[in-house]
């Protein structure tokens, strides 16, 4: 190499080294703190469809919305009944067809606009006007119209009596937005952060789809001051990646969702705690009452006798779910262990054989069971292998498993499947939302063909009940009849799980059946 060339190399090397050192030094001085003291860094595998509450019907968007917006009624931590939030109270007429709410005064949106009855009427009207494909407007199907009386009183006129209307007022469809900002007939785009204003504890300051949502304190928030200065939610496509980020300390906590194996591994990781609270997510096996062999009540009852609930909870979910003996999860008012009372808590092969023998059904009964691989989590494969193992081992059934991806599966359900897996996450945490969509012949979305005049009558009485005590009587009757007819076999109820590093406090206080992560209650030490 020529001397001149060598000198050139040396000079270049020197300049490069100096530049690198400068960058490194500057970086060391100005490196952003990995985790700011009072900023809660959360991770999730949920996705956000639309921040605008008129355009979403998914949990990921709802989690964002509860930080920005409020409802007339909300669920404070630990409460199972709707409590005044933007309203001071709501009451119904004698027929339960009109609900009037008195509104709080002096409340402001994060942009400074005052909150009045005009905002309430506007919010409900635009949900019904936009009729977003997310289907959120369906929650207001019973709403005839909204009228206001002065600036602080509003009345909801219903098409038919509904005792659970206060629960509807806590859902995403009833989120209150600023009538001066939100257009009547279209959604505010996710990118239009400045106009996604609400009265909630935070305001959204940055939203990068599929990547990050940044929340800072709402200076106009009328409630108790949040226990942190801001919340940053990072979105993950894979739970395994989120797990590594949590272990590394990139995020402080993760709420929804890991696989059962990952939860088990995280539970054993030093400095990380898996918090478990009452949950309201359920899984169940739908049986088509119009197709053989499940059109025979004896076959359905035999399946109810043999469902391996405890094995699924222990072996597949490592205790993160609990056996469920009714469509209404334990913890909600009105819950009864109807299936346990009728079929016992453990699988009973003798009784299953007896019911089939009595009905003259030849055993083993061939049965095709459908399940879907990803929509309900990776554990579904193990879950259904366990069900197949248990049913085949009994000698009562000869089960063939078949699966289809969700896009195909969700379109098919009872139109072609005889026995199939489904899960349910409630629109509102009340027994009614676990009964009407499944057993009411007008609302049954599973297409399993179940129609029962007796059940319809019970559910109609439940919806029109004047008092909670009266309503819960019908709730219990519906569960008993559902267990007897067994068009659906519920088998587990999931816990509400959140995982956090040791410096995050307040999580246990927000894990209740309402399934709301109240980030404003969390602090960081």
């Amino acid at each position: 190499m020529h001397l001149r060339t060598r000198v050139r190399y040396l000079v270049a090397l020197g300049v490069g080294a100096v530049a690198l050192a400068a960058v490194a030094a500057s970086a060391a001085l100005s490196a952003p703190q990995r985790s700011n003291a009072s900023v809660i860094l959360d991770g999730t595998t949920d996705t956000v469809t639309n921040v605008d509450p008129a355009g979403n019907y998914d949990y990921g968007s709802f989690t964002v919305d509860i930080l920005i917006y409020q409802h007339l009624l909300d669920f404070p931590a630990g409460s199972k009944v709707p409590s005044p939030s933007l309203a001071t109270g709501c009451s119904a007429n004698a027929a339960l067809t009109a609900w009037t709410c008195k509104l709080k005064q002096g409340v402001k949106f994060s942009n400074g606009d005052p909150f009045t009855s005009a905002d309430v009427k506007w919010s409900f009207d635009r949900v019904n006007k936009i009729k977003d494909p997310s289907g959120i407007y369906g929650l207001l199907a019973n709403l005839k119209n909204v009228t206001t009386s002065g600036a602080y009183s509003v009345t909801f006129h219903l098409k038919s009596a509904q005792s659970t209307w206060p629960f509807i007022l806590t859902t995403g469809a009833a989120t209150i937005v600023d009538h001066k900002v939100y257009p009547a007939g279209k959604l505010v785009a996710n990118s239009d952060v400045a106009n996604l204003v609400g009265t909630g504890p935070y305001k959204l300051t940055k939203f990068t789809p599929g990547q990050q949502a940044v929340f800072e304190l709402n200076p106009n928030y009328a409630g108790a001051k949040p226990k942190n200065s801001s919340v940053i939610i990072t979105y993950y496509a894979k739970s395994s990646t989120m797990k590594l980020a949590l272990q590394q300390g990139t995020i402080d906590m993760a709420f929804r969702d890991f696989t059962p194996t990952e939860y088990a591994a995280l539970g054993k990781t030093s400095g990380i705690t898996v918090f478990k609270g009452n949950g309201v997510v359920i899984r169940y096996l739908v049986l088509n009452v119009k197709r053989t062999p499940t059109n025979n009540p004896a076959v359905r009852q035999a399946l109810a006798y043999l469902m391996p609930r405890q094995d699924i909870a222990t072996r597949i979910y490592h205790g993160n779910v609990q056996p469920l003996y009714s469509m209404v999860p334990a913890g909600l008012p009105g819950h009864t262990d109807a299936f346990a009372m009728q079929y016992g808590t453990a699988p009973n092969t003798a009784k299953a054989k007896a019911v089939l023998t009595k009905a003259g059904v030849k055993m083993p009964v061939p049965l095709t069971v459908w399940w879907t691989p990803t929509h309900y989590g990776d554990a579904s494969a193990d879950e259904y292998t366990e069900i197949q193992r248990a049913l085949n081992a009994s000698g009562v059934f000869k089960v063939t498993l078949k699966s289809a991806e969700w896009a195909t599966y969700s379109k098919t359900l009872g139109t072609q499947y005889g026995a199939f897996q489904l899960g349910w996450f409630p629109d509102y945490p009340d027994a009614e939302d676990y009964l009407v969509p499944f057993y009411d012949s007008h609302s049954n979305f599973t297409s399993n063909g179940y129609k029962s005049a007796a059940m319809d009558a019970i559910l109609a009485k439940e919806q029109a009940a004047k008092t909670t005590a009266e309503r819960l009587v019908y709730v219990e009757q519906a569960q008993t009849l559902a267990a007897k007819d067994a068009p659906i076999i519920p088998y587990w109820q999931g816990a509400m799980l959140a995982v956090a590093r040791s410096d995050i406090h307040g999580i246990p206080g927000t894990l209740d059946p309402t399934y709301i992560m109240r980030f404003w209650e969390l602090s960081k030490s």
Binding site: V23, A24, S26, A27, L29, S30, A31, P32, Q33, R34, S35, N36, V39, L41, T47, V48, N50, Y57, P133, S134, G135, G138, L187, A189, N190, S191, T208, P209, G210, Q211, Q212, I232, T234, Y236, A237, K238, T241, M242, L244, A245, Q247, Q248, T250, H375, E405, W406, A407, T408, Y409, S410, K411, T412, L413, T415, L422, W424, S443, N444, F445, S447
Partner: protein, 342 residues
């Protein structure tokens, strides 16, 4: 040159003209594939939660009940006007996905290609220079192993070793949450945005986050370059002009690095173009594994939601990038070597 000019021009025009039928076939295939299976975005989002009548009602409103040929015609008409549409699940314009998330993919693939070239050139050159030695055997083995390893598996290993066990590097995302929250975006390529703002702390954070995904993706594709460059170096070292250089007394180091190596690089240009398609395919897996918010990551999410508009738009853009890159490479090859005409 006078004789070559019209020929190259004709060749260029032919290649450009071929883009249109290629894109048309791509559009048609993607459109049909998305509609072969039952179900649509509405049933994917609402199935198992609302009655079928509601799903059908919404599907009708969005035009999913129209005959496929009508939907196809509408789609082609929109694309012809440069409108790739809006995603169904989250109402983003496909154009913004391509701009924002495409920038992240560009950042990742650029640095991955850099890694692939550096690894390929260095190892390939050394292997070719020391043919049949233990170094050569080791280099070849390395090339085969990394190329045969699935990119997500290599990514997982890298995350565990360098992220969790050694805790040297972050295992996911484009930057740490707070950096992302505070950074201003100009080009959506964070590496450049940090430089524009003179935000060296953010730049360092971004670089740290780039290392694992870019190296993982780059090393896998470096395997191809290793073998290619090794073979070319060996072949070039046997050429007459190399023997002549040696006979003139030029030292071996200069012969290898100044004469043989330069000529061995020419075929690499073509392969770089071909590798781009594979690199984009690998980027989907890498981005998902590292939660890198690129276009492949988005494709993964939208595919799950059966979001027709998003998937069609993203796949077509992927296709266009590959087609355009192959054209550029063909032009470059034809320009360098006048014998090249396809």
């Amino acid at each position: 040159m006078g004789a070559q000019g019209p020929s190259l021009k004709r060749y260029a025009l032919t290649r450009i003209a071929l883009v249109f039928p290629m894109v048309f076939i791509l559009l048609t295939l993607v459109f049909l594939l998305m509609r072969v299976a039952p179900g649509n975005p509405v049933s994917a989002a609402l199935g198992g939660h609302v009655p079928p009548a509601v799903i059908n009602q919404i599907s009708r409103r969005l035009g999913y009940d129209k005959p496929v040929y009508v939907q196809y015609g509408d789609y082609l008409w929109d694309v012809a006007r440069g409108n790739f549409g809006t995603t169904i699940s989250d109402r983003r314009s496909v154009g913004s996905i391509i701009l924002v998330n495409g920038a992240a993919t560009l950042e990742l693939t650029f640095f991955a290609m850099l890694v692939a070239l550096v690894v390929g050139l260095l190892v390939g050159l050394v292997c070719g220079r020391f043919r049949d030695s233990p170094i050569d055997a080791g280099g070849r083995l390395f090339g085969i192993v990394v190329y045969a390893t699935p990119v997500f598996f290599l990514g997982l290993l890298a995350q565990l070793v360098f992220g969790v066990w050694l805790n040297w590097l972050p295992t996911s995302d484009q930057a740490s949450p707070i950096t992302l929250a505070l950074m201003k975006t100009h080009t959506n390529i964070l590496f450049i945005d940090a430089i524009i703002d003179g935000n060296w702390g953010a730049l360092w954070d971004v670089v740290q986050h780039l290392i694992l995904p870019a190296t993982t993706l780059g090393i896998v594709y470096g395997g191809v370059f290793i073998r290619l460059i090794r073979v070319n170096v060996i072949r070039t070292l046997k050429e007459d002009y190399i023997e002549a250089a040696r006979a003139r007394g030029i030292n071996e180091r200069s012969v290898v690095y100044r004469h043989a190596f330069k000529n061995a690089l020419v075929p690499v240009i073509t392969v770089v173009g071909l590798q781009l398609a594979l690199l984009l395919g690998g980027a989907i897996l890498t981005e998902t594994e590292f939660n890198w918010p690129g276009i492949g990551h988005e494709l993964y999410v939208y595919l799950q939601n059966r979001d027709y508009a998003a998937v069609q738009g993203i796949v077509v853009v992927f296709g266009l990038v590959v087609v355009l890159a192959s054209i550029v490479i063909d032009f470059a090859a034809a320009f360098i070597d006048p014998r090249v005409r396809y």
